[in-house]
């Protein structure tokens, strides 16, 4: 793979997450019944950061859960490897809550679809929103994000890599290109 | 007249040649050639006397789905056997002169390998009442045995030996103590335990051989004629030691070993394949080595196949329920030619003797060598390598523990009394 461009630097990421946190509170008309659920892997630190921002400007804590969608993937019978199943921990009742699913990149929409199915099996939220740092287009399912950090039109042979300090040691969003075989 | 040209000869006397062997009127007419209607090129090949198997289960009458005389005797000639002793544990068992005569007549009509029926030692092989040895011998039986079962009652065995002695009939025994063997399916030892399978201990064989040797001594002491005991399918080191000791002491006992005990060990059971399930079981490497020593030093004088065919489905049951037995008529000689002679330097004349003179002697038959005037029951062997292909067996048991093994020494021509009964073009 070949590095093509930096799409967001650390400061741009911080501003985007801060803005999304505000948009969420605005859409929900406050923090009542709100909860964030981060999708493994990088959706989790992003969700936690947004919860911290909300705590800063609203003075109230919003609970954060973590969700692994491996068992809900629609491609398990086709991929050649076995993904490690990871923890799902949602330490609050989903019923009647407004849940914001948080992921780093929205692409085909299949991960979001799996996350929706998983949430439905865990409880009955009042409302589900989707927040992503980057929307790179090429949806294969009728899924859209309610909150987007940055819209980046991409080609199918390109890859959007989101790096978060908690996992990768730095905050950066990069565009890469797959080499011709 | 048949002429086998330029062929090397091997029998118990040694290897010699090349010779041009002329065959006619059922005999070897000359070793120096002559006119013949059928000429076979023997260049690079070996000619040996036809083999005699002391121990084959041909399953007729009663279990013809597994094998019958036609398929069994065809398998025999393909394996270079001109003579086969059939085991009497059929359904019903061969325990009457009529049954013996019927088998002999049928085999005669088939015109393949010659059949020498073994007859039951006891009625129904139940181990309770002796059969009529005289009548059986007259009908053509060549030995008495309850093989298929074990001889649990020593007195009956003794009485059987005493009855057979004046008739010159050997009594062959499947020497395993049933109470020690219990439901063992493989050699008892650390491997059996690891595989979670009940074990059949080597002591079961040793204990029974020791007992049978004492029974032989008893019969010897009580009889004017010499009783003859033949121990079948020897499989343990201790068993070889006991036979060696007994023969040194002059006891009239002979013993045979099978191709499977000489080429396979208990390790074969690791894959849990019942193809390898046999009684007595495949043993440890040290037992195999002891058998080889016994073959070399004359303790063991015969190779016998214990050809035991079953249906494929039966041999695919689980290890507790699959029947015991390994078939080998078609591969016995090439197997031992390759594994013992080629790979381990076992002397060829001695190997051939184990297939010819050794078994003949057990039955009281004269040795058969390749010389002018000798009966032309012969086998031509090809040293070219070929894999074992069970799908092409004549035997109904189209499976083999040696499937895929590449062997040399395949019989390409078999003659019984000068008649071609098997030929590979």
């Amino acid at each position: 793979m070949r590095f093509k461009a930096e799409l967001m630097n650390a400061e741009e990421m911080r501003r985007a997450l801060y803005r999304i946190a505000h948009e969420i509170v605005e859409a929900n008309k406050g923090v009542e019944g709100l909860a964030l659920v981060g999708i493994h892997t990088r959706g989790i630190p992003l969700a936690k950061r947004m919860a911290r921002f909300i705590q800063e400007f609203e003075g109230q804590e919003v609970p954060v859960g973590i969700l692994d969608i491996t068992l809900y993937r629609d491609d398990l019978s086709e991929i050649g490897h076995r993904p490690q199943v990871r923890e799902t921990r949602i330490p609050f009742d989903l019923t009647n809550r407004a849940i914001v699913l948080v992921d780093d990149v929205l692409y085909t929409g299949r991960t979001a679809r799996a996350a929706l199915d998983a949430l439905m099996d865990l409880g009955r939220p009042r409302r589900i929103y989707l927040a992503v740092l980057v929307d790179r287009g090429h949806r294969e399912l009728p899924i859209r994000a309610d909150f987007v950090g940055k819209n980046v039109p991409t080609a199918k042979n390109e890859v959007v890599k989101v790096k978060v300090a908690e996992v990768d040691g730095e905050d950066r969003v990069e565009l890469w290109e797959k080499e011709e075989a | 007249m048949i002429l086998i040209k330029n062929v090397n000869l091997v029998d118990a006397k040694g290897v010699r040649g090349p010779a041009d062997v002329l065959i006619g009127e059922g005999r070897i007419l000359s070793l120096e050639g002559g006119e013949a209607s059928l000429v076979v090129d023997g260049s690079g090949k070996l000619l040996a006397p036809g083999f005699l198997d002391l121990h084959a289960h041909l399953r007729e009458p009663g279990e013809e789905v597994k094998e019958d005389l036609a398929s069994g005797l065809m398998a025999a000639v393909r394996g270079g056997y001109t003579d086969v002793v059939s085991m009497p544990n059929t359904r019903p068992p061969v325990d009457t002169p009529e049954a013996v005569r019927a088998l002999k007549a049928k085999a005669l009509r088939l015109g393949l390998a010659r059949l020498h029926p073994g007859a039951a030692l006891t009625v129904g092989q139940e181990g309770e009442r002796l059969t009529q040895a005289g009548g059986l011998k007259e009908a053509g039986a060549v030995l008495l045995t309850d093989d298929g079962r074990t001889n649990e009652d020593a007195f009956i065995l003794a009485a059987g030996l005493l009855q057979a002695a004046p008739l010159g009939l050997p009594v062959a025994v499947h020497a395993e103590d049933a109470s020690l063997r219990r439901n063992g399916v493989m050699n008892d030892g650390p491997l059996a335990h690891r595989l979670g399978l009940p074990g059949n201990p080597p002591e079961a064989e040793a204990a029974r051989i020791a007992r049978d040797l004492e029974v032989l001594r008893y019969a010897l002491r009580r009889s004017k004629a010499t009783p003859r005991l033949h121990v079948q399918h020897l499989s343990t080191r201790r068993g070889v030691e006991l036979i060696r000791e007994a023969r040194r002491a002059g006891l009239p006992v002979t013993a045979e070993a099978t191709p499977h005990h000489l080429t396979l060990t208990e390790e074969a059971l690791k894959g849990f394949d019942p193809i390898f399930k046999v009684a007595p079981p495949l043993r440890a490497e040290e037992d195999r080595e002891a058998l080889l020593e016994g073959l070399l030093d004359g303790t063991l004088t015969a190779i016998a196949t214990d050809h035991a065919p079953h249906t494929q489905a039966e041999k695919e049951r689980d290890l507790l329920r699959a029947p015991f037995g390994i078939p080998s008529l078609e591969v016995a000689f090439p197997l031992l030619y390759t594994e013992l002679h080629l790979k381990r330097g076992f002397p060829l004349p001695r190997l051939v003797a184990l297939f010819t003179d050794g078994p003949r002697e057990v039955l009281g038959l004269k040795p058969l060598h390749l010389e002018e005037g000798a009966e032309a029951s012969l086998v031509l062997l090809d040293p070219k390598e070929a894999p074992v292909e069970p799908a092409r067996f004549a035997s109904k048991a189209r499976y083999s523990p040696w499937a895929g093994w590449v062997l040399a020494g395949w019989p390409v021509l078999t003659l019984v009394e000068g008649r071609v009964v098997h030929r590979v073009e």
Binding site: T70, L71, Y72, D117, G123 | L195, F272, D318, L319
Partner: protein, 301 residues
């Protein structure tokens, strides 16, 4: 690894991965909707040539929780009585489109034989007296829940070690995970050797400072065969409150079930908080879900 017949060929990393997955499955079983779609479209057959309601139910529930379709074949069914062979039974199921076979039989090696007959994945549900790998996995999982890690821990297994596939698979697995395994029982019920374990006829030696104790079921057949006398067994090998005092305080108690109360364990102990028997059963489903996930996902179909 393609099949789970025993732990031969399984690395410690593989096994820890299965146990990690079991932890996630355990959480799934706590949810209101106890189901995940991971094995949707797969078919799992339980083929129990040797009957067992508990283990078979546990496997079937595990498969269903993963959204797989389940086919049950039990020994009492008519086709085996009519003489159909194990091979034919499996080939018939294969023709119906089965992806995984959970096989139990009273003869060792039947699951091995099955791998030669079917294209699908084979899980050993217990073969003769040889192996019972999923039981060992659920026992290990239960021990890990209680102890955190098995590294350096002393685990005592008590009872009829000789005939127990639970003991054999347990010794194999626990030692692979770093534990020191001791097997104790009457001399007539002890094998000569057991890979992964130290053997002793002394219950006290095995219990001394043990971090956990597992009692095995004593089968009537052994007493009928004259191998062991019941009173003698109870007097010398029954796990009692007093004897358990030799082990570490709060050392948990396990039993693969079904239990003979007041034989292997003093009745009161069976109901005490130290007994993890119910956890074992619950964990059994989670562990079997993890095993099915590990063997079926990521394979060519």
């Amino acid at each position: 690894m393609r099949h789970l017949l025993d732990f031969e060929g399984w690395s410690r990393a593989d096994l820890e991965s299965v146990l990690d997955t079991a932890r996630v499955m355990r959480e799934v079983l706590e949810r209101p909707v106890k189901k995940v779609p991971a094995l949707q479209g797969f078919t799992v057959a339980t083929v129990f040539f040797e009957p067992s309601t508990r283990t078979r139910t546990s496997f079937e529930l595990a498969a269903r929780r993963m959204s797989a379709d389940v086919v049950s074949f039990a020994a009492q069914s008519s086709s085996l009585q009519k003489g159909e062979s194990y091979k034919d039974t499996l080939l018939t199921l294969e023709a119906m489109g089965v992806d995984a076979y959970v096989i139990r039989a009273d003869a060792a090696g039947v699951p091995h034989q099955a791998t030669r007959w079917v294209k699908g994945v084979v899980v050993n549900g217990g073969d003769g007296q040889r192996a019972h790998p999923t039981q060992a996995l659920l026992d290990a999982y239960t021990l890990l829940e209680a102890l955190g890690s098995l590294e350096g821990k002393k685990i005592a297994i008590v009872g009829d070690i000789l005939h127990s596939r639970v003991a054999r698979s347990g010794a194999e697995l626990f030692s692979l995970l770093g534990a020191e395994v001791w097997c104790a029982g009457p001399p007539s019920l002890l094998p000569q050797s057991l890979p992964g374990a130290r053997l002793t006829p002394s219950l006290e030696e095995a219990l001394e400072e043990a971090d956990a104790v597992m009692a095995l079921r004593l089968q009537k057949e052994r007493m009928e065969a004259g191998l062991i006398n019941l009173e003698d067994y109870i007097a010398r090998y029954q796990i009692t409150e007093r004897r358990l005092g030799l082990a570490k305080p709060q050392a948990p108690l396990l039993h693969p079930g079904p239990m003979n109360r007041d034989v292997e364990l003093e009745g009161t102990l069976a109901d005490s908080p130290r007994s993890l028997v119910n956890r074992q059963v619950q964990n059994g489903v989670a562990v079997r879900m993890a095993v099915l996930y590990h063997l079926l996902v990521g394979r060519e179909r």
